[in-house]
């Protein structure tokens, strides 16, 4: 029993240690860009895309190409945040638009 607990603790410790090791910056940047692209695609599909995230994704891609992973990740993260905001806008506007015009119905 004790041996099993010790083994489990060691496995858990190893997992924690592994997750704390910083990932490859290139990989991190690519993942950030992929996430930004996915969120931007969602906002386009909702008909609510903003222009700024698209420009930021273009910047991030260009930075990736020249190996500037820090800029790529930073631009991509900003693009993701803005795409999220545009999706929140789409959600809010799905009903709010009705109160905005002097319509009867």
């Amino acid at each position: 029993m004790r041996t099993a607990l010790l083994a489990l603790s060691l496995i858990a410790l190893a997992a924690c240690t592994k997750s704390q090791v910083p990932a490859d910056p290139a990989e991190q940047a690519r993942a950030a860009v992929a996430q930004a692209e996915a969120r931007y695609r969602s906002s386009s599909e909702a008909g609510h895309a903003w222009r700024a995230p698209k420009a930021l994704i273009d910047d991030a891609r260009a930075a990736l190409e020249v190996g500037d992973y820090e800029t790529a990740a930073s631009s991509a993260d900003r693009a993701t945040a803005m795409a999220e905001a545009s999706l929140a806008q789409a959600e809010a506007e799905s009903t709010a638009w009705r109160d905005r015009f002097p319509f009867s119905s």
Partner: protein, 288 residues
């Protein structure tokens, strides 16, 4: 006693369920129920009558020049040598130029004075048809390649056709069928939906803030926004289409715009045209 109470409670519950579900059932049976374009149009006219009590509604065909006296004077002076005149002349030449099969635009549109027929909802096709679409369909019928919707040729043709159609009254048929009502609703919704990083709807500027200044410019009313296209804008240094203006407005608020003649913009044009029913077509025009 207990049985009677249970039965009574059951009946009450059944009754309340029936009461609640009845309106829901009618809501889902017709997705367009509750849309009343006539009442909307009247509400909008009443709104502008109150907002601009000294401006006859028909005068909104002139945009901000309906209520900005100084700008109106400058505009009237510019009309002595209208900057869209060259586009109209070039459009007339294009209009008369025969296609490869010997036919031409006059075989599709007669003398070109057909702007009053567009946009309309085509029940068979299930979509809003605009003049620009009709021009390209005329070309396709005669074996010609389509014109780019954001190109100079189609804008010049529509400038000529708008000029030939001056004085016609906008008379978009009341959207009644399911498809027409859905297209109308889509346009109405687009007009009222906040977009872009600046979080503006078309109605933010042209309803809530109509008549106010945005920097140095006055904001026009929704009524009459479709009467005068294509427009020579000094900012563009050329004539451009209504959909180009939609595109520009969306871009200005930080939203990703839609392409000219997209379903979104055609539905928006349809909605705005119905709102402007009764106003005179007076295109092309010049604007700052």
């Amino acid at each position: 006693m207990v049985r009677t109470t249970i039965l009574g409670a059951g009946l009450l519950l059944l009754g309340s369920v029936a009461l609640v579900s009845a309106p829901l059932a009618s809501d889902t049976s017709d997705t367009n129920s509750g849309i009343d374009p006539q009442a909307d149009r009247q509400a909008l006219r009443d709104f502008y009558s109150q907002r601009f009590p000294d401006v006859p509604l028909e005068e909104h065909k002139n945009g901000v020049y309906a209520f900005d006296e100084g700008a109106r004077e400058q505009w009237l002076e510019m009309e002595d040598f209208p900057p869209y005149e060259i586009a109209v002349d070039e459009g007339a030449e294009l209009y008369e130029m025969p296609f490869a099969d010997g036919q031409g635009y006059p075989d599709c549109f007669g003398d070109g004075a057909v702007k009053g027929r567009y946009p309309h909802y085509d029940d068979v096709r299930g979509e809003v048809v605009t003049l620009e679409m009709a021009i390209n369909e005329c070309r396709a019928d005669h074996g010609e390649a389509p014109l780019a919707y954001d190109g100079a040729a189609i804008t010049r043709l529509t400038a000529y056709m708008a000029y030939a159609s001056r004085g016609q009254i906008i008379d978009v048929a009341l959207p009644e069928g399911e498809g027409a009502l859905a297209a109308y609703e889509s346009g109405r919704r687009f007009y009222s939906t906040r977009r872009g990083q600046l979080n503006f709807a078309c109605s933010s500027c042209h309803v809530q803030l109509a008549g106010n200044r945005l920097r140095a410019e006055r904001l026009s009313a929704s009524l009459g926004q479709v009467t005068h296209w294509p427009v020579y804008r000094f900012k563009w240094q050329d004539v451009g289409s209504l959909h180009l203006r939609f595109n520009e407005c969306n871009s200005q608020v930080g939203a990703e715009p839609f392409p000219p003649q997209s379903e979104e913009y055609r539905n928006l044009e349809y909605f705005l045209s119905y709102m402007s029913n009764g106003l005179e077509l007076n295109g092309p025009a010049s604007r700052k």
